[in-house]
């Protein structure tokens, strides 16, 4: 049980929280105001979501810290595979209407 782990400062948490709030407010505003076409809107929301994911990795989840067994790298790689499976798998499976022809 190590005692030297860095749990971050109040400043990084508050900054991360603010960034997350902003990155949540932007897509909400985009949807309500109808400023983009449907495809552009979807892509923009997805990009902002990924950006928020990265923000949370750095500000909340201490992705840069770590010790010898790099458990968080393993977890992230497995997580990436799973997320890919969920998203790509669902799209593939749910296109069943268009496959019939």
């Amino acid at each position: 049980m190590g005692v030297s782990e860095n749990h971050g400062s109040a400043k990084t948490y508050i900054l991360g929280f603010l960034f997350s709030l902003i990155l949540t407010a932007i897509p909400l505003w985009l949807v309500i105001q109808h400023v983009m076409s449907k495809t552009v809107l979807t892509v923009t929301i997805l990009l902002i979501a990924v950006l928020q994911l990265i923000i949370q990795f750095f500000f909340f989840m201490h992705i840069r810290d770590g010790e010898k067994p790099r458990y968080h790298v393993m977890a992230l790689v497995l997580g990436a595979v799973m997320v890919f499976t969920i998203v790509a798998g669902s799209i593939w499976i749910m296109t069943f209407n268009s496959q019939v022809h």
């Binding site: 049980m1 067994p69 458990y71 497995l78 997580g79 799973m82 499976t85 969920i86 669902s90 593939w92 499976i93 749910m94 069943f96 496959q99 019939v100």
Partner: protein, 652 residues
């Protein structure tokens, strides 16, 4: 449904009135008992606020056995309804509710807590730790499960039970299909306990990775620990999907969205797709620890090291990851196209390979071993042929084109009961018999146990083998009743008889426990089975702090090695000085916060917004209170350790 949605209390069915009366009598009995014997303080300080993994495990166990009883009664009611053609023992609405709650309760409120009971009781002892990584979170998990299960079970006397099937497919589970509160009970009962399950997954993953006894390498861990690790990995990836899916269903029902409705651009099949992304890994979540239990038992009672340890580890990890890539086999008939179905048929069949590896490893472990026929071993031996047939019918179902014939027939019902009872329930019962002396300090009676074993097993085959035939004869799941002309009557009657035999087996087990409390063989050594792993190196039941000295591990099967080479807890001369032990303090917050979740869930179920907000505010206050708590741990002084060790007969 419409009639039932009107009243707060469910009315009109004599069975429900009977349940009302027995609930009130039981509650009064408990209240009078606690007050008369002045046990309220004891209940609060010893159980409700405890963060001790052993006590939490026992609470999980008691809850899951109660849920096994409730789910079992549901099953017997269904079998009585189906025993003969044209029966009207239950109303059709009541029948729908019962098959829904039977499935949900057996998986989420029986199998999961039974599994968590064994996690809690065994894992810290087996890896030589004094508690789990996050003891407070562990208590939180239990109470979230408890109040989630309570909320779900309340539905059959208040508001009306959910009736849209155990996975609540839309559009039936949408507002138009289920206007009453029953479906909300389902959503909130599962959501609340689901948070607890996810937290337990994280908790035990961290415990196993970070809290092992000094010297215990990953590849020296007992196989049950490995199975829990692989199960936890699956929990962490699967449960968030369930939470999101049910949250989206709630958004549909509460805010009138159209995510899964058939109209307005929604897609009900997306729900089916998402729920099985959790649902399929879920069956591996529950069966992997059972595999771990069998491995421990086979090795212990064959007096041999497990055959193919490394292949056992790899096959479990492969199952836990590959189990995530098979979910479409639950809805081949959706018609996603030949390429999609082919992919998922192949992944499904591929999972049979690591499972087959494990079966052979168990057989080779027994080969030329000195086998002792104890109760845990009996259940393990019963598991192997049962699971083999269950697996073979699974491969039949995995063939996508053939599945169009079997889909949702009684063939499927027989298949998954065979894997879930023959694999999971037999495994947990084997684990229960195996670790019972470690939990309570005495063995369960052998003679009554054998009666229970044989009635359970014969009952199982009598109940489910006819259902394979019924499936081929065209009987589909969830049918309420059928006519004489179908030719199903004799098979159904036999099946019902088998279900009642299993019920008798359960009664034998209750009798066995009650009998053994008084007359069971006491375990004075702490090692009643001549075990191989660390939990058998300490007294039964384990003291509060588990290990007075943390064991120094040098090999796999570490306790066996210590006994053979006379070191560690098995050495005579190695008495080290005691040091104060760092332990977590009890806390009432998990109980109170989960009670607030219950209030919030109840409010949202009936759409009483004020009550929902009050509950959520309570949760927030509890979170804040915990955040500012500094004084959460303490040290057990050396003389208290010495006193405890002396009182349980250890050399001080």
């Amino acid at each position: 449904m419409g009639e039932k949605a009107k009243g707060f209390f469910v009315t009109g069915d004599p069975l429900i009135y009977g349940a009302d009366v027995s609930i009130i009598i039981t509650l009064l009995g408990i209240l009078v008992f606690l007050t008369y014997f002045k046990k309220w303080g004891w209940l609060w300080s010893e159980w409700l606020t405890t963060v001790d993994h052993k006590k939490i495990g026992i609470m999980y166990l008691v809850s899951s056995l109660l849920m096994l009883f409730r789910g079992g009664v549901d099953a017997l009611l269904m079998r009585m309804q189906l025993a003969m053609p044209n029966t009207h023992f239950l109303q059709s609405q009541h029948y729908n509710e019962i098959f829904t709650t039977h499935g949900t309760i057996m998986i989420l409120f029986m199998a999961m807590p039974f599994m968590f009971a064994l996690f809690n009781i065994v894992i810290p002892l087996q890896i030589g730790a004094r508690d789990v990584a996050y003891p407070f979170l562990n208590a939180m998990s239990f109470w979230l499960f408890f109040f989630g299960a309570l909320l779900f079970n309340l539905s059959f006397v208040i508001g009306g039970s959910p009736d849209a099937g155990w996975l609540s497919y839309p559009p039936l589970s949408e507002l138009a299909g289920s206007p009453g509160p029953g479906q909300n009970f389902y959503i909130w009962g599962i959501q609340i306990s689901g948070i607890g399950s996810l937290a337990t997954g994280i908790n035990f993953l961290v415990t196993i990775l970070k809290m092992r006894a000094p010297g215990m390498k990953l590849m020296q861990m007992p196989l049950f620990t490995w199975s829990v690790l692989s199960s936890c990995i699956t929990i962490i990836f699967a449960f968030p999907v369930l939470t999101v899916t049910l949250a989206l269903l709630f958004v549909d029902r509460f805010f009138g969205a159209h995510i899964f409705t058939a109209a307005s651009g929604g897609n009900p099949m997306m729900y089916v797709n998402l729920i099985w992304m959790w649902g399929h890994p879920e069956v591996y979540i529950v069966v992997l620890p059972a595999f771990g239990i069998y491995s421990e038992i086979v090795s212990t009672f064959s007096k041999k090291k497990i055959f193919g340890y490394k292949s056992m580890v790899f096959s479990m990890i492969i199952i836990s990851v590959l189990g995530y890539f098979t979910w479409v086999h639950h809805f081949f008939t959706m018609g996603a196209g030949a390429d999609v179905n082919t992919f998922f048929a192949i992944t499904t069949m591929a999972i049979g390979i690591p499972t087959g590896v494990k079966i052979f490893n168990w057989l080779f472990t027994m080969f030329r071993g000195r086998i002792t026929m104890t109760q845990p071993m009996l259940w393990t031996l019963a598991f192997i042929p049962c699971f083999l047939v269950g697996g073979a019918t699974g491969v039949m179902l995995a063939a996508a084109p053939a599945d169009y014939q079997y889909h949702n027939s009684y063939f499927l019902i027989a298949h998954f009961h065979q894997t879930l009872i023959g694999g999971v329930v037999f495994g947990y019962l084997a684990g229960l018999y195996y670790w019972w002396p470690k939990m309570f300090g005495f063995k369960l009676n052998d003679r009554i146990g054998k009666w229970a074993f044989w009635t359970w097993n014969i009952g199982f085959y009598v109940c489910f083998m006819p259902q394979y035939a019924l499936g081929f004869m065209g009987m589909t799941r969830r049918v309420y009743t059928y006519g004489w002309d179908m030719g199903w009557a004799p098979y159904n009657l036999v099946s019902t008889a088998g279900a009642f035999l299993m019920g008798i087996g359960f009664i034998f087990q209750v009798w066995q426990i009650l009998y053994s409390i008084k007359h069971g063989e006491r375990d004075l050594t702490g090692d009643p089975w001549n075990g191989r792993t660390l939990e058998w190196s300490i007294p039964s039941p384990a003291p509060h702090y588990n290990f007075a000295h943390l064991p120094a591990v040098r090999s796999d099967d570490s306790w066996w090695d210590m006994k053979k080479h006379r070191y560690g807890a098995a050495g005579q001369d190695e008495i080290k000085e005691y040091a104060p032990i760092h332990m977590p303090k009890n806390s009432g917050i998990p109980f109170l916060m989960s009670a607030c979740w219950f209030v919030a869930g109840f409010g949202l179920t009936f759409e009483w917004i004020w009550l929902g907000i009050a509950g959520l505010a309570g949760i927030g206050i509890c979170l804040l209170a915990r955040s500012f708590q500094r004084n959460t741990d303490y040290y057990i002084p050396v003389d208290e350790i010495k006193r405890t060790e002396a009182s349980i007969g250890r050399v001080v």
